[in-house]
Symmetry: C2
Subunit: 126 residues, 2 copies
């Protein structure tokens, strides 16, 4: 996996797992790959994986069962909140950054639409 060297790996792994859950690759109650397996897959040390998982466990998104594995919580309330937090955070970040560039809200929307249009044109479709 590719990491942004400007932000801590353990944090990017947290976000990665959040996304896997949101997208549905990891459903509520599902077992997360073993820490040693994740370490191999993401080419990162077990301790770094553990640090990310510990944080997700602390947040209640994952549940740890010693000797068995780590599992996605079945508390859909918590998962729904997480999803909202992630998406809101993304939009808020964009909004703040663009506002700091002197852009008005309407311009932001226009800029995003423009970006999407250009991107569609310049890419091969699936």
């Amino acid at each position: 996996m590719e990491f942004d060297d400007k932000v801590p790996i353990y944090f990017q792994i947290e976000q990665y797992i959040d996304r896997e859950i949101i997208v549905g690759n990891l459903v509520p109650g599902a077992q997360v790959p073993a820490v040693r397996q994740l370490a191999l897959t993401l080419t990162v040390n077990v301790n770094t994986i553990q640090r990310a998982l510990t944080e997700l466990i602390r947040e209640g998104i994952l549940v740890s069962e010693r000797g068995k594995g780590n599992f996605v919580t079945t508390d859909t309330q918590v998962l729904a909140q997480m999803k909202k937090r992630v998406i809101q955070g993304e939009l808020a970040g964009t909004y703040d950054h663009l506002a700091a560039l002197g852009m008005a809200p309407a311009e932001m929307v226009a800029a995003l639409e423009e970006y999407i249009k250009e991107r569609k044109g310049g890419e091969s479709h699936d």
Copy 2:
């Protein structure tokens, strides 16, 4: 100034100065505040300021004149490119992150509009 403790301070300072230029608080040819002054204002060490400025100088956005100060380049070409890079980067980041959350382009625009609407409602206007 407030920094995100997840990303290097020197990098955030680079972005800060980029924004000051884009917004027009720093015009082409203008002198950037002295490094020791910036260090005080942003409450960071001079070396950290210097690291950020060195990078901006390397990119041609600032021009250093020893004994006199650091100045915004008068090469509007370079500044225009920088502005485009910053904005495109912001949009691209948002796009990629939301796409990784399983969102289609049209949904992204809708989500942003919705976010702006909610934000306007919940805030006091200036």
